[in-house]
Symmetry: C2
Subunit: 198 residues, 2 copies
């Protein structure tokens, strides 16, 4: 009889909780999600939750970390091109589109900054952010973009994309706003490029 290993069952429990949390947080928001309901949905009780994650915020941390890593992986996979600049611009566009997904908007872009202090985001810094910074640094070293500060620019670009994504998703029909955003993104980024043509 398949007597499963203990560690395996633990991982399953944690996975069920994180999955249920991602769904509930994404749909209702962190604040309006009841831990009683959430754990019941996962076939468990609050006991399991507080044992594994300490408190409600601990669960949010786990969800955010997972989502952030997942997004970063997607972006890195898609922006691995020999042309640094093209890869960079492509990455920004893809991030813009990725950030349109409701779960991501609700959990990563809104709830995470609000409920996890900047202290958390500071230490377990967004993987996406690190990747973007590194990419910018490489381009500066290669002279593709002229002098500037990679870390600072990464924050600004990220903010621009986030705000644009939230605005796009507000609309009943997001398509036109997305098109406008992509066009203006190129305009904005062109200022960073060292030598001329867009």
């Amino acid at each position: 009889m398949a007597r499963r290993a203990r560690s395996e069952m633990i991982e399953e429990t944690r996975g069920k909780l994180v999955a249920a949390a991602r769904e509930a947080f994404g749909r209702l928001g962190y604040a309006d999600t009841s831990m009683d309901d959430l754990t019941a949905t996962a076939g468990l009780t609050r006991g399991a939750l507080y044992h594994h994650f300490g408190d409600k915020k601990g669960l949010l941390r786990a969800v955010v970390s997972a989502m952030d890593a997942e997004i970063d992986e997607r972006l890195n996979a898609a922006s691995a091109t020999p042309d640094h600049w093209a890869g960079f611009v492509g990455r920004c566009r893809l991030y813009l589109e990725t950030a349109l997904e409701p779960d991501i908007q609700r959990i990563v872009l809104k709830d995470a900054p609000t409920f996890l202090g900047s202290d958390y985001l500071e230490t377990s810094r967004h993987a996406c952010h690190i990747s973007l910074t590194a990419r910018l640094a490489v381009m500066m070293a290669d002279g593709v973009v002229h002098g500037g500060d990679a870390e600072t620019l990464a924050h600004m670009i990220n903010g621009a994309l986030v705000d644009a994504a939230l605005w796009i998703a507000e609309a009943d029909d997001p398509a036109p706003r997305l098109a406008r955003a992509i066009a203006n993104l190129d305009l904005l980024l062109s200022g960073l490029r060292a030598s001329g043509q867009s």
Copy 2:
């Protein structure tokens, strides 16, 4: 004996509640602020609150509207110069500095998007945002910045500034990060300028 007018006392009550809310929301955050404590601090009870503002979110709406209007006024006052481009850049810098204040970060930049749906921000759209959009539109009409979409760009620029401000305020010593942000802001905005010099 100074028998005060009724409308005057009402305004005083509302003012006391909004003031107490601004302080408490700014210090503890919206989620961790108890309405019992808040109203007691204002020398009132929850009865007054629910009578005037409907619910907790109603009070947050009032606080955010007031803060937003106040910020917009500050920015408009400081960026009223004959040189459109200089006024625009100056406004962005001032916004960056203004957005460093803890109350504003906590209430306007974090809690407002999280707890007031985008529906609210949509209708009672940030005064700041409207002003910035208008300013961009004027510059485009005058050919100071080349073609692009004022509304879209306003969102992107705003997002860049907000994200930068949050990042700056995270640091133990914000000064160096602020300096870096201002320098890179010029770099980023230069891409918008129609003809040449920064």
